[in-house]
Symmetry: C2
Subunit: 130 residues, 2 copies
Amino acid sequence: MTRQRQVILEALRSSRAHPTGDEVYRLARQELPHISLGTVYRNLDLLSESGLIRKLELGGTARRFDARVPEHHHLRCLSCDKVEDVEVEPMEGLEQSVEEQSGYEVVEHRLELVGYCPGCREKRERAGFR
Amino acid sequence: MTRQRQVILEALRSSRAHPTGDEVYRLARQELPHISLGTVYRNLDLLSESGLIRKLELGGTARRFDARVPEHHHLRCLSCDKVEDVEVEPMEGLEQSVEEQSGYEVVEHRLELVGYCPGCREKRERAGFR
DNA sequence: CTAACTGCAAAAGCTTTGCTTTTCA
DNA sequence: TGAAAAGCAAAGCTTTTGCAGTTAG
């Protein structure tokens, strides 16, 4: 556990924003101005392999990371691209039923809801959408 | 509707494999050897804006496209990266309950299951996993 | 001490874009 | 004939990698 690794983990733990790799890099640089982007990505991979953080694969181009590990799902704003956690009642039996139907060994499932956050929603309405 | 656009749409309609942009390009080139990658991407965007195809934003780096438009969900193999359709009973009330909880205007939701397909599952077992 | 890790910079993978020429309605 | 689209190539954005030097245990 190097200093860099610690700073990256702390950055992620103190952010509610599900930052992308580049955003984690910016956060980490506030603490360690010489940290390199490669180090950030390598550590984000190691941390998610070890289960300390979670690598999110949501829509959009960039990957995002999350220090909140237990299963939960996400809500993304199509306009400002913000990502929030969302509580959804567990989908009982989903994975097992898909396993039976498909022959796959199902490891996990991801649910992403997309839409417009309250702020962007208001802007859109003012601009004449819907 | 240009010839290129038609070929791209046909390629997608005749594939079960949820191809990436690059794969669509390869398919289209079998018909139109001089088609360019830029044309393929521009048309994939236009076609998905018009609702004729669907742009998938699943895990992994590359985007995938699907000519099957009605809502359905996906199952992705972590080992060979293949993507299949999967039937899941609709999640009644999900979007509305999230709207009430979050204040978002929810547009859609995506569910992705990930795991190991029957073929890769067998290889993994032979190799001593699990 | 040495295996793991860092910084730096270059490369790689996928997608988008600028520009000029061609095509379609 | 004018607007939309194609081809080509370059650029962009995010992530990965090679290498030489550094550090943690």
